[in-house]
């Protein structure tokens, strides 16, 4: 006979498994002195996010992080689209490591989940094939004269926000609580496939229960939305998104996620990977315009933020100084729930308050 005692025990076994997984998949994250690598997508589509991240790490947390003007792409998008050989990608990665070495750093932090996957994949490949590493060292030397050391610590930018989430909380002006009803905000986290699906032991919480963003939600007072398609891909698909003819792949996969999360009425989506953040924001706009379907409240969309944008908001940064006006889905519903005091008239102003007019409004998706 199953008693309520059994039921409680079973549930706590489940909970235990999850906690065990989080314990097993802890990762070593260096304390200070980071070499920072930018993202192709984050710097274009969320052009304030990386400066905000650097500010949080250096100014708010007092850590040393180096933003090198000589860095470049990791080539990940081109590699995963099939136009760049793996050897090229490995050698470009080796050059990034050489820049880190020359600058006197040992801890490498990159601002893109695709890059994190690339750097990890290169290091794992060299571990299995030391002769490949040698070959790439020689290629890099011939091409650029550079040599390098392998980073002691390789992490994704969100790993740092996760590591310092309690410090960030202690400086925060807001919690992830809905001021309007006192409830924790319901938050969807999207991790991005290449964070932990390729090498589960390299991500906090592994591939089953990735905790990198969930840990921020828990610490900052929100509540996680556990929905059926939580781990499904956003649908980037690399070459599939890059070609207009193939883009249906991308929107269809994002739609699978939206339809699955909608019944849980999320207040916010946060995403780990810059590409995912972009798709989860923009495909809501396209679905609204094409099908008349909106996923947020009253004809608006569900706001989608990167983790550093969320940290910045909680720390009290002006939302229009950290680029939140550049999301196609308006973020005002979230600002109101958090209790952020913002000036709507500043939203579309340029440098020194320059009046730039307002963007056109979509036909269906409501925006501010």
């Amino acid at each position: 006979m199953i008693t309520s005692k059994h039921y409680i025990m079973n549930n706590s076994i489940k909970e235990n498994n999850r906690n065990k997984s989080w314990e097993t998949y802890q990762k070593d994250i260096a304390d200070d002195n980071y070499y920072f690598a930018r993202s192709c997508i984050r710097q274009n589509f969320f052009p304030a996010a990386e400066e905000l991240f650097l500010k949080i790490i250096s100014k708010e947390l007092g850590k040393d992080i180096f933003d090198d003007e000589r860095q470049t792409t990791c080539t990940g998008i081109a590699y995963h689209s099939g136009v760049i050989p793996f050897e090229t990608t490995m050698t470009v990665v080796a050059r990034q490591f050489a820049l880190m070495t020359e600058a006197g750093y040992e801890n490498f932090v990159c601002s893109c989940v695709t890059s994190f996957g690339i750097y990890t994949e290169v290091l794992e490949t060299w571990k299995h094939n030391p002769s490949k590493e040698q070959e790439i060292r020689e290629s890099l030397k011939r091409a650029t004269g550079k040599t390098f050391q392998i980073p002691k610590n390789l992490v994704h930018t969100s790993d740092l926000i996760y590591k310092f989430r309690e410090e960030i909380l202690s400086k925060s002006k807001f919690r992830l609580l809905n001021k309007l009803n006192g409830e924790p905000l319901r938050i969807v986290d999207h991790i991005g496939c290449h964070y932990a699906k390729i090498f589960p032991d390299k991500g906090i919480g592994g591939a089953e229960f990735p905790y990198v963003l969930a840990g921020m939600i828990d610490s900052w007072g929100g509540s996680q939305v556990d929905y059926p398609e939580r781990r499904h891909c956003c649908g980037f698909g690399f070459r599939q998104y890059l070609l207009k003819s193939n883009r249906g792949y991308s929107i269809s996969n994002s739609k699978i996620k939206f339809d699955s999360m909608a019944p849980y009425k999320p207040d916010l989506i946060i995403a780990n990977c810059p590409g995912c953040t972009f798709f989860l924001d923009r495909w809501q706009y396209v679905i609204a315009e094409m099908e008349g379907k909106t996923y947020g409240e009253n004809g608006y969309g569900i706001p989608v933020l990167t983790y550093e944008e969320l940290a910045g908001l909680l720390l009290g940064y002006n939302p229009w100084d950290i680029g939140l006006q550049l999301h196609q889905v308006s973020v005002e519903s979230l600002l109101d729930k958090l209790g952020v005091n913002y000036n709507p008239l500043e939203k579309y102003k340029g440098l020194n308050g320059e009046d730039l007019g307002k963007p056109e409004m979509p036909n269906v998706l409501k925006c501010y």
Binding site: R38, R70, T72, L140, I198, C233, R239, K244, I322, P359
Partner: protein
Amino acid sequence: MNLLKKLKEDIRFIEGLNACINCGTCTAVCPAASVSDYDPRIMIDSVQKANEFSIIEILMSNTIWYCGECLSCKTRCPRGNTPGYVIQALRALSIDSGLFIESEQGQKQLAIKRTVGDHILEYGYCVFIDEIDTEMYPEQGPIWDWLKENKESVLARLGANYNKAGSGTLRLTSEESLNDLRAIFKETGANERFRKIEEYSALKAKEMGISFTKGKDDYFKTLYNE
């Protein structure tokens, strides 16, 4: 060219295929399988059984271009295979052998090469704001048009270093760094792959009677849009 031999030497193939038991787990989690006519189990099985003749068919097919490289299959395969890695090896060989030009999807690699591929050597990044507009990427939405119209002022407000020397968001990558990338591309086979994509595409465009020059020419537009 002994295609099977070449395939089996590719490090992505070596790491990607042990022995497939045809369980279909990869297909169950595959986002490409859920939205297109693609099945990683069948793909892996056909590669596992391939001979020198059937591998040509595979390299000429649309199938190898449908995968989205999410690598969800790597986590799940009970035999430690990675269909997404095998796809990478097949795509590399398809371009190397020129067979990519025989499939509609393979032909589209020219459009990828002329966007993200060329951007790397021009800007130092796969993507750059100046190359993105709402005609090519309508999903960017009206907010992108507003940003583009006002980019100097908006980006300055947001603390970016758009198109200027030094460090920072959207800065101008120095000639020195670009020269390093160019030298690496030359040294490691990327230039060679670019050359093959362009040369085979020129022949195909001629055969199809579509104008082929460079950049976003008619052939590019056909591949990109249709």
